[in-house]
């Protein structure tokens, strides 16, 4: 990545590239002889393909090949029996509607699209179910433990509490729907070297999967993914459609590009699964929590299991001696889900944080006061202190900025004409991770620094964060620092997920910089230069064009002694129209407690993006299926409502910005997930405060408010 016209050291290093169209996304690579793939998808929900007529497609103009389970394009791993991932083109089974069953490759996209429409499949249909609620009613339906049950103290203690609530909360399927459509370009060469241009959150993970499926050495696979037009989790695995494209390129000996349609984005690249949850809370009359029970059922698929951390938060977020949780996954006949921003924690937080508001109301207590009263001294789940936690301070800042003192505890108290005003608060929490990563640094006598790591940037501004870490340590101007990523040949780094990149890769950048600094100091000492000499003169004096350092970095034993989490507090003000049921979020204050803020602008962007995603989750987003057919109804951007600018008020972001003493050298904890986790509950709580209506099923659309 090249820095252009950097005006402010905190600007995104690739901002200019992005806004001027110079950033090149996977689908924009033009390779000589490029061909185009289009998928044929199943029109039934469950059963078997009994016939696939590909003749007219094969005869259509420009068509190079049609691949399916009939000709099983070579993929050595898939030739073995068994194994969980769906083996595309190695099975005649249909697991979900919209499953890819063939790929048509032609010399233009339009010709491939047309030819794909000519492929005719016949099926043997089987009874199916795509509805979580129906599956739960059906005693015979498969249910699998998603996480071991958890218990501390007395089970279901809430039931005997002085004050208790018990409620059910429902979330629909949400689809990631980044702007950029999913896909890949694969270029398989006769010497079994393959290069792909991918949309992935992990170039190394994609490299591994491809090498594994095709049984070729890792070094034969080159993955490029410098720019990603939004991932939100959907790029955390290599999907069957990507393998299909590599198969196709191998088969025809030419590069193949596949970009799926917006409709296909709903069926074959995962989603946030629908979930239904029960939360029971008990408290003493003066507002001390005495029991938390959180049970959840989440959707999964019939061909692969998917689990996430839906009930994690209940175990440690509040001071409470009696807690029990259970999380069950329920296979339905849909494509397998995948983590979506905030993953399971965001699902769980909607339920838990709504329930906290409900019990505060039952106690006639201010929900903020209730939260402060039950703020945990330490992590009771792990019996360890938190490495850092400044929630009370965050509550205070947020309350002041939103104008919490205007709030009335009695719902429906503030009204202006037909608009009712309400305030809501919630907390978000996510594991503060640190993994293992390697970074290479090259400090050059021309005054520049090159840093490299096979990490990704799905939008948060990885390069910017890394550049700022190096800038602070070495004092090199940001425009002289280049951070290269998104290339599998660079030093190993994990996938970008779980809010861990800054912590993980940033630590390796830190170690590289510290090491470069000491090397320079040594060189200075050896060549009789003063300890404060700048590195350019030191390198020149030593006749060195550059010095290079490689570092692998990972956390130590800090997790044995501490519990590490990032926190966020979301405050929202809403206006609800009493006649039309329309809800408008009118003010947002999000406070992040995630250690040192390394990159203030991109950190703020994370919080803003999380709040926008949170508005979507709370008010507008829902992937609707007609369960009679197992097909999506609103699989386009006109009918699947992501928030538009007019839905988003000004968002105030504050950070505690105090270093965490143990997590990593920067003291920085992740914050991609906490920006979203809990937000939807803050909105639901505000709607309750405005109207007295408790809406426990997302999204909160006008029909639910009016009901």
């Amino acid at each position: 990545m090249k820095n252009l016209m950097v005006k402010d050291e905190n600007d995104r290093v690739d901002g200019v590239l992005k806004v001027t169209g110079q950033a090149k996304y996977f689908a924009e690579f033009e390779l000589p002889g490029l061909t185009y793939g289009v998928l044929v998808t199943s029109t039934i929900t469950k059963g078997k393909i009994t016939g696939l007529d590909t003749k007219s497609a094969e005869r259509a103009p420009g068509v190079i090949a049609v691949l399916s389970h009939l000709n099983k394009p070579s993929a050595p791993l898939y030739e073995q029996e068994g194994g969980s991932p769906m083996k595309i083109f190695y099975t005649d089974k249909i697991f979900f509607n919209g499953q890819p069953i063939a790929i048509v490759i032609a010399n233009t996209f339009e010709r491939a699209t047309y030819a794909a429409s000519l492929v005719k499949a016949t099926y043997e249909k089987e009874a199916f179910n795509t509805d979580l609620h129906k599956a739960l009613k059906d005693a015979a339906a498969k249910k699998l433990q998603g996480q071991p049950n958890y218990k501390r103290g007395i089970e279901n203690a809430y039931q005997t509490a002085e004050v208790k609530i018990e409620q059910e909360y429902n979330l629909p399927i949400e689809t990631h729907n980044p702007m950029e459509l999913h896909g890949i370009i694969a270029d398989w060469k006769p010497n079994n070297q393959v290069t792909v241009y991918a949309k992935t959150q992990g170039v190394k993970a994609t490299q591994n999967t491809i090498a594994n499926v095709f049984k070729i050495p890792l070094t034969n696979v080159q993955v490029n993914s410098e720019f990603v037009g939004g991932g939100f989790g959907m790029g955390l695995r290599t999907w069957p459609l990507e393998i299909a494209t590599v198969m196709a390129s191998k088969h025809i000996g030419k590069p193949v590009k596949l970009v799926i349609t917006r409709m296909q984005m709903f069926t074959m690249v995962g989603n946030r699964p629908a979930a239904t949850q029960k939360v029971g809370l008990g408290a003493t009359k003066d507002g001390k929590l005495t029991g938390i029970t959180h049970t959840a059922f989440g959707e999964s698929s019939t061909y692969e299991n998917f689990t996430e951390g839906v009930v994690n938060m209940a175990k440690f977020m509040y001071q409470c001696d009696n807690v029990n949780t259970a999380y069950t996954i329920v296979p339905v006949d849909l494509g397998v889900p995948i983590w979506m921003r905030g993953p399971g924690e965001a699902t769980g937080a909607f339920a838990l944080e709504s329930a906290i508001d409900e019990i505060a109301h039952a106690l006639d207590m201010d929900p903020l006061e209730f939260r402060i009263k039950n703020d945990p001294e330490m992590d009771q789940q792990r019996n360890k202190p938190f490495s850092s936690k400044n929630i009370k301070e965050a509550y205070k800042i947020g309350a002041e900025k939103i104008g919490w003192s205007q709030r009335k505890n009695k719902p429906g108290s503030i009204k202006e004409g037909p608009w009712q005003t309400g305030y809501g608060v919630s907390i978000g929490v996510f594991n503060a991770n640190r993994g293992k990563a390697s970074v290479k640094g090259v400090l050059k006598a021309d005054g520049s620094l090159l840093l490299q790591s096979a990490t990704s940037d799905i939008g948060p501004g990885t390069g910017t964060g890394m550049t700022l870490i190096a800038h602070k340590l070495l004092g090199i101007p940001v425009e002289k620092i280049t951070f290269e990523l998104g290339d599998s040949s660079l030093p190993t780094a994990p996938s970008q997920g779980g809010s861990a990149t800054l912590s993980t890769v940033g630590s390796a950048v830190n170690d590289v910089c510290v090491s470069l600094k000491s090397t320079i100091a040594e060189l200075a000492a050896n060549s009789n230069m003063s300890a404060t000499s700048d590195f350019i003169s030191v390198l020149k004096k030593n006749n060195l064009p550059s010095i290079e350092v490689n570092k692998e970095s990972q956390g130590g034993k800090e997790r044995d002694n501490y519990s590490l989490y990032s926190f966020s507090i979301h405050f929202v003000q809403v206006k609800v129209h009493e006649l039309t049921g329309v809800v408008k979020v009118s003010k947002i204050v999000s406070v992040g407690d995630s250690g040192t803020i390394v990159s203030p602008k991109t950190a703020r962007s994370q919080m803003v993006g999380g709040a926008v995603g949170g508005i979507g989750m709370a008010l507008t987003e829902e992937s609707i299926i007609d369960h009679r057919y197992g097909r999506y109804i609103n699989n386009n951007f006109a009918d699947y409502h992501v928030p538009v600018n007019a839905d988003v008020p000004e968002i105030e972001v504050h950070f505690i910005n105090k270093p965490d003493p143990v997590i990593n050298p920067m003291g920085a904890k992740g914050m991609g997930e906490i920006a979203l986790i809990g937000f939807s509950a803050a909105v639901a709580n505000a709607v309750f405060n405005a109207t007295g209506k408790r809406i426990r099923t997302l999204p909160i659309t006008p029909d639910k408010v009016l009901a």
């Binding site: 039309t580 008010l619 109804i633 006109a638 007019a646 009016l706």
Partner: protein, 327 residues
């Protein structure tokens, strides 16, 4: 490839002549609906007659009427000073529709002719009597949250999705249509149809006709008007329910009133009995409430859209409130 011929014409006459030559030809205006339908395999014309260069973009006052050419863009109409002054309700309704980018290319004729947004209509794997007569109605017993509560039949419960048309039906517009033999005029309220036994027909435009222009009488309604669109997000979403309201007030007395709804029927839904009730009455909340109740006489829900039975009268009342309160 599904080949089609693309023809461009610069006069209404030649457009009509080209159309009459081929039963499976279609006019292409902004293309914002037709091209989507072609991509989804719902419509496959073998001839596209591009009429964007036909000089029917006028927005002008002729006597005591406003004439709007069928090819005037939604943006041009919404932003026209003449429309803003004389027919502000129409301008408001247009601005509530789609997005700025779509409105820039969408035309008046195309807007009238746009097909329903019913999801089953767009998915060729699903039953839909409108797309494939006799295949059944997917929305009945299925996802019908967006669907009609008035004038439905057992064959189709789709709604006409336009905002513009709601204002036009309220404003007593007339539509001028032309074929090779000449022009005819039809009241806007008679342009769109109810589904009945012919859900495949959205309107009464004949196979060989071109929409030429609209003629809208200039009303005394310029101040107390409001187009209220209730939807799932603040912009760029189709109406759950919308209401176009125009009141002529004398003091607090309603001298004249126009009321129409969108998002509730297969056509823009004029509320004549509510209008008759309000005429001559005081503009009070009680009267608004009664007028709203009158509007609901024949309403019927289909499950997921039952909430419209409550949202509709509320929307009428709120639109009346807002229209009345305009200073």
């Amino acid at each position: 490839m599904i080949n089609f011929q693309y023809l461009r014409t610069t006069s209404a006459k030649s457009a009509i002549a080209l159309l009459s030559k081929d039963k499976n030809a279609k006019f292409l205006a902004g293309g914002t609906n037709l091209i989507d339908l072609m991509k989804r395999g719902v419509s496959s014309p073998d001839k596209l007659i591009d009429i964007n260069h036909v000089p029917l973009k006028q927005i002008e006052q002729v006597g005591n009427k406003i004439h709007i050419g069928a090819l005037a863009s939604n943006t041009a109409v919404a932003e026209s000073a003449l429309i803003k002054e004389k027919l502000p309700l129409l301008a408001q309704a247009l601005e509530a529709g789609a997005s700025a980018q779509l409105r820039n290319v969408a035309t008046v004729g195309g807007n009238m002719m746009q097909r329903t947004r019913c999801g089953y209509f767009y998915d060729t794997e699903m039953p839909c009597n409108k797309r494939k007569p006799g295949s059944g109605c997917g929305a009945i017993g299925g996802f019908n949250r967006m669907h009609a509560i008035f004038g439905t039949s057992e064959n189709c419960i789709a709604v006409h999705p336009s905002d513009m048309c709601v204002a036009l039906v309220a404003l007593d517009a007339e539509v001028i249509l032309a074929n090779a033999k000449g022009e005819r005029r039809i009241l806007f309220k008679d342009f769109h149809r109810l589904p009945g036994d012919t859900p495949q027909l959205d309107n009464n435009l004949k196979n060989d006709e071109l929409i030429v222009r609209l003629e809208i009488p200039i009303h005394p309604f310029s101040k107390n008007i409001h187009y209220l669109k209730v939807r799932d997000r603040t912009s760029y979403a189709f109406a759950l329910v919308s209401a176009a309201v125009a009141i002529e007030l004398q003091g607090n007395q309603i001298k004249d009133v126009r009321l129409a709804l969108g998002g509730v029927a297969h056509k823009p839904w004029r509320l004549t009995s509510s209008e008759a009730f309000l005429k001559g009455k005081e503009a009070t909340l009680e009267n608004f409430q009664q007028a709203a109740q009158l509007a609901m006489a024949d309403a019927k829900g289909y499950g997921e859209n039952d909430f419209k039975l409550k949202l509709t009268p509320n929307t009428i009342i709120e639109a009346l409130n807002l229209a009345k309160s305009k200073a």
